[in-house]
């Protein structure tokens, strides 16, 4: 055993010295970029990876740094030359120096890049997958699905243990509008080799009862981009593209863009953003509903108002005529009544006068008549008196009776008949001497 054991720092310093002396040159490195980040200071921190020739398993990985003075020029140069963003997933040819730091360990410092060696293996494979899906006519199938108005029943494919699912549910549950959601978890492995297999299994489970769901959400919390390789496979992309329900992906951050993202109906950055998307969708559904409600209310109110005005106008017009007519009628009636009263009055007066007159006339007539009658009666009385035999006798006339009967014809007498002559006072008997 060595009498003087090294401290970690001493050992690391030894490694550093060895590397510096053994690898003093710069090297052209061919590797895939993964997890490219630049910070506020303008330095770029990234990961170089190498995978198995067939498959997604990593066989080498190294941290890398591009200092801001280099990155500032390198990035626009590279992007301009290649038309490709300097992001994770591309394969690059870079000139590096090998560094070792006692605390931070092994890393490669990028000094230069060869843009002619542009698109990395991952990106090319993605393009190839997408191209294949396009040729098969399925690439945009999921995008063509119409998102139902109600996206409430949500089949979530995620890892039960990941924070992403919790964030998602939390966001949904506390949506500020009070919408109801029914999320259910379909667990799947969200990193490593089993991503494809478990997600496809979950999709199959959902598909078996697809009528129970409105939408599928595939979410995963953030992580190193190298972990996303499982989302870049043909089978998963083909399954997702042809899935009968809209698939929303929120499987990484902005810098991560997978084949699955490319074929999904809607792609958002994070689980929280996926929840936000669904809430906004429901909000727009609710807004449409409220728009309908208010435009119906407005239209109905307007029309009712209009009808009311029309009615009022009619009401105003009709009674005016009616009122005028009624007034006229009333006047006419009054006139008639007055006329009738006047007529009646004058008639009554006339009648009364007539009656009085008649009464008067009747009185005088009666008087006259009575007087006349009286006179007549008196005259008659006198006549009767004058005609009575006593009266005649008194006036000198006499009655000749034969056998008690008045003689009016001398021829009825013959000589020798005995006659009685009655005078006013007394009688005498006589005998007829001669015949005639």
């Amino acid at each position: 055993m060595d009498a003087h054991p090294l401290s970690l720092y001493e050992l690391n310093a030894l490694v550093k010295r060895s590397i510096t002396s053994c690898m003093p040159d710069t090297y052209w490195l061919q590797a895939e970029l993964s997890d490219v980040r630049s910070n506020y200071s303008g330095h770029c921190y990234l990961e170089f990876v190498q995978k198995e020739p067939r498959g997604n398993n990593l066989i080498a990985k190294a941290r890398g740094t591009i200092w801001n003075n280099v990155y500032r020029l390198l990035k626009p140069y590279f992007e301009e030359e290649t038309g490709q963003a300097f992001v994770a997933g591309i394969k690059v040819l870079v000139e590096v120096s090998v560094e070792f730091h006692e605390l931070y360990g092994y890393s490669l410092t990028v000094l230069n890049i060869d843009p002619t060696y542009t698109l990395g293996d991952m990106a090319r494979r993605r393009r190839e997958i997408l191209k294949q899906l396009d040729e098969e006519g399925v690439l945009t199938l999921n995008k063509e699905l119409e998102l139902p108005l109600l996206t409430q029943r949500i089949a979530v494919i995620s890892s039960a243990t990941a924070a992403g699912y919790g964030d998602f549910c939390n966001q949904l549950e506390h949506n500020p509008y009070g919408f109801v959601f029914y999320p259910r978890l379909f667990p799947a492995v969200m990193q490593g080799d089993r991503v494809e297999e478990t997600i496809i299994a979950a999709l199959d489970t959902i598909n078996a009862r697809r009528d129970d769901w409105d939408v599928v959400v595939i979410i995963r919390g953030g992580g190193a981009t190298s972990d996303l390789s499982g989302f870049d496979t043909y089978d998963l992309a083909a399954n997702c593209a042809q899935f009968p329900l809209p698939v929303i992906t929120g499987i990484g951050h902005e810098r991560d863009d997978t084949v699955l993202d490319s074929v999904s109906h809607t792609r958002v950055k994070t689980p929280t953003a996926a929840a936000e998307f669904l809430i906004n969708h429901l909000r727009s559904t609710a807004e449409t509903l409220e728009d309908y409600a208010s435009s119906i209310l407005y239209a109905v109110t307007t029309q009712m108002e209009r009808e009311k005005t029309r009615l009022t106008r009619l009401v105003e017009r009709i009674p005016m005529q009616t009122r005028m007519r009624l007034r006229e009628e009333r006047y006419r009636q009054e006139r008639v009544i007055r006329q009738m009263e006047v007529n009646l009055q004058s008639r009554l007066m006339r009648e009364s006068h007539r009656l009085e007159l008649v009464e008067k006339q009747l009185g005088s007539l009666l008087q006259k008549k009575l007087t006349e009658e009286n006179h007549r009666l008196r005259f008659l009385e006198q006549q009767i008196k004058a005609a009575s035999p006593e009266h005649l006798l008194k006036r000198g006339y006499s009655i000749t009776l034969k056998e008690g009967k008045a003689v009016t014809d001398a021829s009825c007498l013959k000589g020798g008949d005995k006659l009685v002559t009655r005078f006013a006072k007394g009688e005498v008997e006589s005998i007829v001497i001669t015949d005639k």
């Binding site: 109600l150 029943r153 109801v180 009862r209 409600a293 119906i296």
Partner: protein, 66 residues
């Protein structure tokens, strides 16, 4: 359940029709009243879908977990 989801879409479609018809003054006052009543029922139905938890859906989805 599919039928219910369908009904929401149908309800919204019907509402849209009603809005269009009212907007274009196609309705007389009598049918206006009827349409308004129908619209109110549809709106109530849709609002309930959005804001009220449906026990039946929950039940069906819980069966899913088993």
């Amino acid at each position: 359940m599919a039928a219910k989801k369908q009904t929401y879409e149908q309800a919204m479609k019907r509402l849209e029709e009603i809005v269009t018809r009212i907007d274009s003054n196609e309705l007389d006052i009598d049918s206006l009243g009827e349409s308004l009543k129908e619209a109110q029922e549809l709106i109530k139905f849709c609002r309930e879908k959005l804001y009220k938890a449906d026990g039946e859906i929950k039940k069906i989805l819980e069966e899913e977990d088993k």
